[in-house]
Amino acid sequence: MEHSHAALATVHAVSYLRFIVLFPLLGVLFNIFAGPRVGRRAINLVSPGVVLLSFFFSFAALLQLPPGGALVDTVYTWITAGRLQVDFALRVDPLSATMILIVTGVGFLIHVYSTGYMAHDEDVARYFAYLNLFTASMLLLVLGDNLLLLFVGWEGVGLCSYLLIGFWYTDDEKASAGKKAFIVNRIGDAGFLLGIFLLFWSLGAKGVWTLSFAEIQTHAGLLAVETVTVICLLLFVGATGKSAQIPLYVWLPDAMAGPTPVSALIHAATMVTAGIYMIARLHFLYSMAPTALAVVAIVGALTAFFAATIALVQTDIKRVLAYSTVSQLGYMFLGLGVGAYSAGVFHLMTHAFFKALLFLGAGSVIHAMSDEQDIRRMGGLKTKMPITYGTFLVACLAIAGFPGLSGFFSKDLILEETVASPHGSVVLWLIGTLTAGLTAFYMFRLLFVTFWGETRAPHEVAHHIHESPTVMTMPLVLLAVLSFIGGYFTLVPFLAPVFGGHHPAHVSALVKYLPTVAGLAGIGLAYQMYVRDPAMAERVAQRYAAVYRLLLNKYYVDELYDRFVVQPVVAASQWLWRVWDTVIIDGTVNGTAQTVAANGLLLRLWQTGNVQVYALSFLLGAMVILGYYLW
């Protein structure tokens, strides 16, 4: 068994992993019950504090991690029914160690940032209750030792996403965005559940009743390839929902309705990577099913490309970043899909750094611009917000794949593997490279339009523009440092015990350098179009008006879904209720009753109320009966 070595490796039983999840949960309780009374200072202290504690425990777990092994904390038996037994057990191996450090580390910085960003919001306790709950769910997701516990976290983060997107609930549009996120995710989750069911019963048919990762890995070889393919595809449906891939990505851009730190934490750094994590966690299954892998790679590459094209023309700063996130997640899936799991996870990590930074930077800008999000009304912020600008620049360079920064390493690794891996293909590489160019272009378009040039804000807004307070800039700086050096973390060897040994890919120089060149070209083009010749963008848009409109309207996908899914379902439901239920079923029921009543109505005409008539009928009846017998 090639893949079973991880399951057989050293496993230490410990009992402190539960606290990693527990601390944020305590934060939730604190914020719900004490939060509204104790005041802002205590909330600002406790909420990030519990995440920091989790971070320390996660770090301790990392230090104690036996080489090539894992730590397991079995808390109690959660569900037992028939042949199903699910333990509440947490597990740290290199993969989940990476994830919990990202979640708690980046999460802590974003919590700190939030204390500044939400300083003027009256509902701060509720905000942090949700944010802590999110952290706990996300940690459960990555720590869960079995598929069902992962699913608990999976739905939990979905819930928090719903709550946080609709945090400013008095705005109907924001509430709708939250609902959309939850429902679209639920569609994915339905697929995920079916994947779990199929896995459970197919393994059960071979005599293995389990949902635990380690045991699934040990016994995965028993399964037929076709079965594994179907399981993997079903689980991938779940991933497309959570990680915003085609066809279920539509919720993520709308999710930008939430507070910006939420977008940074949930919709950039952590939650949306859950799909990546899930596939990486079940890599042994995916490796058995080349078809499923191919689907993952193709969906990833296509999503990366299409989302990037949409991002080219968006004018809302957060929407650009949202489509960029969708696109970057596509990269990660591309990496996973070609079997380069560690490359995918590597990009997950670097992306967490620079995309969180981008969102926080955007938040800083929005904060300064009095909640303005349209980049056409920004400009010239470079000098007024130097720290935000500097860190934003670092993040843009990182995502554009500028040599030496974190994104350069991870993105290049994915693209190299796309060519070198047996599951890869040159076409996918080409799409990826093209997307790299597009990414660099739209990111620097964003940077130039927002920070360079003259300010286009109304006077009263421009007057208020200021650099954000230290609690907000400090996380920016730390994340900028991470985005800078993140590429030098030796994640690939670290993850080797999970994914198997890594063979450095040998690729031609063209493959190696073209993505970088594409990125630099993208930056150059953006500079030409938005700095040297600002009118050029307008000309291009007019020249290719049809394409421009198509992109601006996001390929009309939302409209298509509305037209062909939402509206028919609602119309059908109305019909079912008003015609089928009310007229047909209830009509039958009431019709039966009315038939009986009508017959009764006829019969009661007999009942004249005149005793003599009764007596007469009595007499006649008696005579008839008598006559019958005497006859």
């Binding site: 429902i183 109305q574 079923i585 209830d586």
Partner: protein
Amino acid sequence: MVSAVVFIPLCAALILLFIPREEEEITRRVAFGATVLTFLLSLLLLVEFQSDTADFQFVERFSWIEDFGIQYAVGIDGISLFLVLLTTLLMPLVILSSWDDIHKRVKEYLFFFLLLETGMIGTFVALDLFLFYVFWEVVLIPMSFLIGIWGGPRRIYAALKFLLYTMVGSLLMLVAILYLAYLHHAQYGTVTFDLLQLHKLTIPPETQIWLFAAFALSFAIKVPLFPLHTWLPDAHVEAPTGGSVILAGVLLKMGTYGFLRFAMPLFPAAAHAAVPVIMALAVIGIIYGALVAMVQPDLKKLVAYSSVSHLGFVMLGLFAFNVEGVEGALYQMLNHGLSTGALFFLVGVIYERRHTRLISDYGGLWKQVPVYAAVFLVVLLSSIGLPGLNGFVGEFLILLGAFGANPWAGVLGVSGVVLGAVYMLWMYQRVMFGPLRHVENTKLTDLSRREVAVFVPLLALMLVMGMYPKPFLIRMEKSVEATLARIQLARPLPDPTTPGVERAGDRDAIQEVSHSATD
């Protein structure tokens, strides 16, 4: 002890008759005290319940009408234990919630509820079919009166519809019960209605079909299984809050309980034959209920249709015929009792304040009543099966079981999970989010202490049952296995040449549990 649990409410009801009409407060206290006492006693049952046997426990049995072999026989096993507890838990809450709401004929209101409680508990513990039928019918009358007297504008229509609908089914069941007694006489020379004795009957499959159909119709109406559900929205909409809570929380479970306790084990061959039909109807019910719930303008109707959907899940689990599915179904019965009961309480809370149930009359309530909104949110999440809360455990087990029995049933059933989120969240958004549109709503007050006291136990249970379902499931396990063993033995062993995921599993189950099959 079981008899005490059954009859304390009845005794309290009789005591109520001697309390002068003007003493409303005393009446309420007596009724509340009696239901709390019943609940505490039923907790004793839980404590002393042995989870390692499938036999009936706390059995009490003596002759009632000797000439016809009718016994008074009651007892509890893992299937009925939690249903009894659910009933005894919901009753004090119902009385508590009506404290400030009901001022019309308080004494009669409480009298009917206490009578109802005796009927419901009796239904769940009766081991004699005749006794079961008596209790089953006892439930009917007070419920009809509760709807017909304290209900909304169309209460008479709703009460009659409820009464007649249920009556049609139960009369056929009565005929079937009598036929069973007759069969026993034919085969063993004595007339008996004892469930355990009737288990021994050999009934030819053709006869089973008819008897099963008679039982199933009665239970299916109660469940309610699509397309026999139309009494439910009317009854719910018109019933007073407490009536809706009990109707959804307990009465519907009498149907599913009947399937599991009587229809399936007594007529296993017929049950097997009925699987495709019932599974299909259950799946239709899940999707249909959810879709129709989605477009309801009335909060109570929405919850009522959501019950159709949820009970579809329960039926799907029951007819999966594997331990996972059936335990999930049992668990889901409890979940539904808690979450839908709580939803009706919640609707009742704003209805009492605003006297409207139309969703469009609300909007933006979160700002006005945050505690209420938060409680509503938790209940709603429990109802749509969010992991960590009780609903998920039930739904997951049911769908897992159903998928094992028939993958397509699982696939279609899962769509109910999506649709459940759709109608609930959409409703929640329209009620709670957005701007506060109607001026009247600015006068709404948040939950009172009494109302909080109603919700706290419910929310706590939702959390406990979601986080730690094991103690519940373990107590069900043996009885479920024994029941399934009865059902499974009737089925011809599957053809070994057709490999199917579910087949292999089921055979394991037979081997595992056949030795523990009792009676």
